[in-house]
């Protein structure tokens, strides 16, 4: 029995180690390539370890895309989106979880019904609304506003608020606290771990979003980082070292965050996905 378990463990590791290396390889090469000039990346013996050309690659990237500007745009847009989306979805989720009111099932049913509808269906009317009717093209709001209709977030926060005891809220009501204060100062602090996981996922989703910003941002200075990098990939003039710098800068903060907060990440993804 013991020998059998040891043999099973051996085969398990033998299968997983190469696969794990294969999964890490693209990330490793992205980091390594960001520190080499294009000539090294395309040389007969491409580098597998870090070089010294990061600063030079970065300067090239900055010159080609005004990279720091797009980095700033991405930070502002993702932060704005995350904060607003957390506020809206936790308010909505709280109402659906903690109140009984006429029309609740109808409203929730309406939101539920749109959950499996592909975003492609909404993208053209959203564009017309944002670009033509509201004249918001090339602004932060053009990127943020439509994506705030985050259905998964409502579900996630509704689930989270189910864990808050009603007695706690009623006790505050008896003490004379108004409904907003009960939500803001009592219920919300209880679900802080769920909010933190949601915040990470919202920020990541916004940070990596490509298609929508590509559509509503048409001026170079309004680009987000993925849009700016996307314009480079199709060209031949720009150095791959520079592109790898951009992709590495877009990715490294999240890899670090992921290493530090793996549990929270996993809980967020699993919690947002698995409904019962």
């Amino acid at each position: 029995m013991q020998a059998q378990r040891r043999a099973a463990a051996f085969w398990l590791h033998l299968a997983l180690i190469p696969l794990a290396l294969l999964f890490l390889a693209p990330l490793w090469l992205m980091l390594v390539f960001s520190t080499h000039p294009e000539t090294a990346i395309f040389s007969p013996n491409p580098p597998l370890w870090f070089g010294g050309a990061f600063a030079e690659n970065f300067r090239g990237l900055q010159a080609d895309t005004n990279f720091l500007r797009t980095l700033g745009n991405s930070v502002v847009i993702s932060t704005l989106y995350t904060l607003l989306s957390m506020l809206l979805t936790s308010m909505g989720g709280y109402a659906f979880s903690k109140y009984a009111f006429p029309g609740k099932n109808l409203l929730f049913g309406l939101i539920l019904a749109t959950l499996t509808i592909p975003t492609f269906v909404t993208i053209i009317p959203q564009f017309i609304l944002v670009a033509r009717d509201l004249k918001l093209s090339n602004t932060y709001w053009a990127v943020v506003l439509p994506t705030l209709a985050n259905t998964i977030g409502i579900f996630y926060m509704r689930q989270a608020f189910q864990t808050v005891p009603n007695d706690l809220l009623n006790a505050a009501r008896i003490d004379g606290a108004n409904e907003w204060r009960i939500f803001w100062q009592i219920a919300l602090p209880v679900v802080r771990p769920a909010l933190a996981a949601l915040a990470i996922l919202l920020f990541l989703a916004s940070w990596n979003d490509y298609l929508w910003p590509l559509i509503v941002l048409t001026q170079k200075d309004s680009y987000t980082m993925p849009v700016a990098l996307g314009t480079l990939v199709g060209l031949t003039r720009v150095s791959w070292g520079g592109i790898m710098v951009g992709t590495a800068i877009a990715t490294i903060p999240f890899l670090a965050l992921f290493l530090a907060l793996q549990r929270l990440f996993v809980a967020g993804i699993a919690g947002g996905a698995v409904k019962d």
């Binding site: 890490l24 592909p118 909404t122 053209i124 409502i154 490509y210 996307g230 791959w240 992709t247 699993a270």
Partner: protein
């Protein structure tokens, strides 16, 4: 999951509170999500090209039926769907089971390796894959040459270009599905396995008779999510292969983008969008019927 009703006292006192809490979300939802769903359906019956006079009709839809490019995009999308989703979900299931195993050492390290791709944006990894699969200078061809297998002209031949897209998607999304499946696995009680082990069931039998049936709802969720995602595939074919060679990797996503935001033919693009929605609905319904019974 039960909702405990709020006591009458507070409900009488603040009847407007829940509506005020929902209102901001609801306004955004109606303006940017619910109305566009209706609007784009109506638009699919309108000729939106500049100077067009036909007000309302089936022109877009009949054009769709005869459109050779649309057929190519549809065929490519369905091909990727049929190949990539099963490969990815089998791999994700195997990974979830392996990562859940008590025999595994250094579990955290393995989890990091397989889950790390899911923080990488589609643009970033598309760029990396385009570089790695470069015919003349890419690492993949250098590796293949070193093994004596010769270089492959990855991005300039239809089959290999498709393979690169499928590989890239599998790399990016397997870990995501594995996390969801892992959460599902951890919901299965230990006792079921212990009882089976006492009855003499081998690990292999336990997997087929216990794990898979109990994991079915989670797996179904992953299937539906993956189908909807793949039907909307855009970034990878746009950035790794430029929909090429020719139109060999053009998808419904890249074709919709081209019609909607390059040619600004909103009506026709809406018809394409609704085709995607219809396919998503059909596939989801079929999946639910076939595998959704019980639980």
């Amino acid at each position: 999951m039960t909702t405990v009703p709020t006591p009458h006292r507070s409900r009488r006192r603040v009847p407007t509170a829940p509506y005020l809490f929902i209102l901001p979300y609801l306004l955004i939802f109606l303006a940017f999500w619910a109305w566009p769903i209706v609007s784009s359906f109506l638009m699919s019956f309108r000729d939106s090209r500049l100077g067009a006079t036909a007000p309302f009709g089936l022109a877009n839809w009949s054009r769709l039926v005869g459109d050779e490019f649309f057929r190519t995009a549809l065929r490519n999308t369905l091909l990727i769907l049929a190949l990539q989703v099963p490969i990815m979900l089998m791999l994700a299931t195997a990974l979830a089971v392996a990562l859940n195993s008590r025999l595994l050492k250094l579990r955290g390290l393995f989890r990091f390796a397989f889950f790390a791709p899911l923080v990488v944006g589609t643009v970033a990894y598309s760029a990396v894959f385009r570089l790695l699969f470069n015919t003349d200078f890419g690492m993949v061809n250098r590796g293949l040459t070193a093994l004596g297998l010769g270089p492959v002209d990855w991005l300039n031949q239809p089959g290999p270009a498709m393979a690169v897209i499928i590989l890239a998607m599998t790399w990016r999304w397997t870990g995501y599905n594995a996390i969801i499946l892992l959460a599902g696995l951890q919901g299965i009680s230990e006792e079921v396995y212990e009882a089976a082990a006492i009855d003499g069931a081998t690990p292999w039998q336990q997997f087929w008779k216990i794990t898979l049936p109990l994991l079915r709802p989670t797996l179904l969720f992953c299937v539906v999510l993956s189908i909807i995602g793949t039907l909307q595939l855009f970034t990878e074919p746009a950035l790794i292969t430029n929909s090429g060679p020719g139109n060999a990797t053009m998808t419904l996503g890249t074709y919709l983008y081209q019609q909607g935001f390059r040619s600004f033919n909103f009506g026709y693009a809406s018809a394409i969008a609704y085709t995607v929605a219809a396919l998503a609905a059909i596939f989801s319904a079929v999946q639910l019927r076939l595998f959704g019974r019980e639980s």
